[in-house]
Amino acid sequence: MITLTLREQPPVPLEAEALSPDVMAALAHDAIRALPVYLGKRQQRVDDLFEVAGEASDELEIRGDAAKVKWIGRGMTRGRISIVGNAGMHLGAYMKGGTIEVSGNVSDWLGAEMSGGFIRVRGNAGGQVGAAYRGSLSGMQDGTILIGGSAGLEVGMRMKRGTIVVGGLARDFAGLQMKGGTIVLRGGAELRTGAWMVRGTIVSLTPIRLLPTFSYASTYNPTFLRLYARHLGTLGFAIPHEDREGAYRRYTGDSAVPGKGEILVWKPAGA
């Protein structure tokens, strides 16, 4: 395993796309130390900012408060990054495979435009989780993002496939212009959830405010959700799905598009 320990939080953002198994897996210790990172406009070496241990491994561990370190795991296709602490913007952006685990919080654009792989964040995430970058036609194409805590604006914006689970509260525009895939909001969301969605599924386990352009269809427990419940259950996220517990109110929209997306809002039995 390769371990990078950030000596101190950099004064300005550090751009470090070299922090990825694809880059490091084949490198000897000295080569890893010499990899370029960008502190503002200055090019520096990894070992200017990190204590480096280990070499040539698919396993990368990053320690210290990396809240200002951007682009970790950019476009990674393999291996595993575990971050003990926080991570900055664009963590796992364009990711194609492999695993990223974060014990703390992450900033915006987590897993933006990723097409595969698995990301788990124990703490909170910023905005644009799994989203499309400005102007792009689609956000995440596949893969899984699990967030234990809350998430910011535009979760899953323009996502096409894949699964995003937010444990806490998501802010406005979750599932904005969504084209497919599944977003599970265990803690609900603020406003404009599913705005302009074309296809895809948003599941909310707590009541949410809906746009006028979503209309109520029916109340039931969709069979497909049982597959997700089983899948996510093994990852530590329970999703209710038994009739005795309650059922989901199904809303379709966004009729402004017009889209055939769905928002499933959990209604506990007797509630």
Partner: protein, 541 residues
């Protein structure tokens, strides 16, 4: 002083076809002999006059609008990092101004014609052109939907129209006149279009697209502009539009004209399902019309961005693609639509378009009358010209590409039967000598004594037909700007403009009219000379 020695020179304008001879340069021009100074050993290289792009969109309000609309394209674009010589920028589908200069020069092109300038924002266009380094520029102003001009045509006041057109050209500090979808944009301002050349334009009783075309072409000839009327005909991109194109050619009988991006006007069929290439029929008609020139507007598969003053067409395209759509209508003058587009080899329509462009280039017999363009960025990006050249020079390569097309498409095109292969000198004609002549720039497109010293040197027979992709040397105005394929020096380009004669009194006619229909004061309308970088006024007639 500079001497290029040992290279095979292709200078078709002077009848030189692959002869090894010296090219001498002094004070930015080609000279008979140069004593002392630097010598470039060009043995193993071919020497051509710098490329001239007769129809491209590299600057102006519309293009800048498109840039703002498509950050996703820039994210995927080749970045230009700041160096001691170069400024930072981005390439891609609508390159930034500095990158545009580097990309053209880096390919061996040294003169470009920005083909669509609204007069109202001409000041802006010149600001951008000033920031496009190295290459020389010309511009065409949009006139075929100018309501002041159309009103005069409606009233039959041709003489006054002539003075207005001349005044407008000078006000815009332009070089030529472009007619886009004549009458169609006026109609588009009411959400309609002009599909029939002989039918009155929306809001007019007499003026038809045909009268607009013939009158403007006539006026341009009378004003004796170096470049004839530059026409983007009606019904661009629509299946079956070849009849409109042929009718347009009839309307132009007896007048000079340049037909822009002919490929987009060469379709048969009644709808997208039955669309086919009519390039053969069109080329046959065109071959007989020695007074016309055209550029191909060829299509290459991949990302593009359709950006044209043809508003209605853009709305249709937006409805077809369901993607982004930008539109800017310019008061009294023109409009512009922008829709990002991807040409797919698997699409029947796109396959036909791809073939039609090549068919025109191969079936028009006189290379001096058809020029290499992609109507950048509409059919593809200008920096992909080398791919196009390869397709023209190798029938085998074309056959390879044809294999990728849907079988259905092969029934709609004639490309598979065409064996013609362009020679290097013919390439020099359609990329330089021809367009220079059509633009009326005697100092461009050749290597004769007195010509501007714009020269491109390529390794002979470099990697599989792509020999024109990476020049070893590019000389612009006598200065070596590209050396060993790298931008070494960045010079400023000139802007060619014309000042056709007009009766100064015409301003008295225009001033009151202006206050009525414009929102800009008359005195702010004309572009001041000092706005231009190194202006160079060309003579008329």
């Amino acid at each position: 002083m500079l001497r290029i020695t040992g290279g095979k020179v292709h200078d078709p304008a002077n009848g030189i076809d692959g002869v090894v001879r010296d090219v001498c340069i002094a004070d930015g021009r080609i000279v008979a002999r140069a004593e002392g100074g630097r010598t470039i050993d060009a043995s193993g290289m071919v020497v051509l006059p710098g490329g001239v792009d007769i129809h491209t969109h590299v600057a102006g309000a519309a293009l800048n609008f498109a840039r703002g609309m498509t950050p996703e394209n820039f994210r995927r674009a080749v970045p230009f990092l700041r160096t001691p010589e170069r400024r930072a920028g981005l390439g891609g589908i609508t390159p930034t101004t500095f990158a545009t200069g580097y990309l053209y020069a880096g390919m061996g092109w040294t003169t470009v014609n920005e083909a669509a300038v609204p007069i109202l924002s001409a000041r802006h266009t010149h600001e951008e052109l000033r920031d496009i380094p190295i290459v020389d520029k010309t511009t065409c102003v949009l006139m075929a939907n100018n309501e002041i001009v159309l009103d005069l045509l409606e009233a039959g006041e041709l003489e006054r129209a002539k003075h207005v057109v001349a005044w407008l050209i000078w006000a815009a500090k332009a070089y030529g006149v472009k007619a886009v979808n004549p009458g169609g944009i006026v109609a588009w301002k009411w959400g309609r279009n002009a599909n029939t050349l002989s039918a009155p334009v929306e809001g007019y009783s007499k003026v038809t697209p045909a009268t607009i075309i013939s009158s403007l072409a006539g006026i341009i000839d009378e004003l004796r502009l170096p470049h004839p009327l530059h026409i983007h005909g009606n019904n661009l991109g629509v299946p079956g539009n070849v009849s409109t194109t042929i009718e347009t050619m009839k309307v132009l009988e007896g007048r000079r004209a340049h037909l822009a991006h002919l490929q987009f006007h060469a379709y048969g069929g009644d709808d997208w399902g039955s669309m086919r290439s009519e390039a053969a029929a069109l080329a046959e008609q065109f071959n007989a019309r020695k007074d016309l020139t055209a550029d191909a507007g060829a299509v290459l598969f991949g990302d593009a961005l359709t950006i044209t003053a043809d508003g209605p067409w853009q709305h249709l395209l937006y409805q077809l693609t369901g993607r982004k759509w930008g539109n800017v209508d310019v008061e009294n003058e023109t409009g512009c639509g922008i829709v990002p587009y991807v040409y797919k080899g698997s699409s029947l329509v796109n396959a036909v378009q791809w073939a039609a462009g090549l068919e025109l280039l191969l079936l028009v017999e006189d290379p001096w009358r058809i020029f290499l363009t992609t109507d950048h960025p509409n059919g593809g990006c200008f920096w992909r010209y080398p791919e196009l050249i390869r397709l023209l020079m190798s029938a085998d390569h074309r056959r390879e590409c044809l294999k990728q097309l849907p079988a259905k498409a092969l029934k709609r095109i004639v490309l598979p039967e065409l064996d013609r292969q362009y020679t290097r000198s013919e390439i020099a004609i359609i990329t330089s000598a021809g367009p220079a002549r059509a633009l009326g720039l005697p100092q461009k497109g050749h290597l004769g004594v007195g010509a501007d010293a714009d020269v491109a040197l390529y390794d002979e027979g470099r990697d599989g037909g792509l020999e024109f992709a990476y020049p070893r040397y590019v000389i612009k105005g006598g200065e070596i700007v590209v050396e060993e394929g790298e931008i070494r020096a960045v010079s400023e380009g000139r802007e060619f403009i014309v000042r056709p004669s007009f009766d100064e009194q015409i301003e008295e006619y225009l001033r009151p009219l202006f206050q009525k229909v414009y929102t800009m004061s008359f005195d702010n309308y004309p572009v001041e000379m000092e706005r231009l970088a190194r202006p160079d006024v060309q003579a008329c007639g």
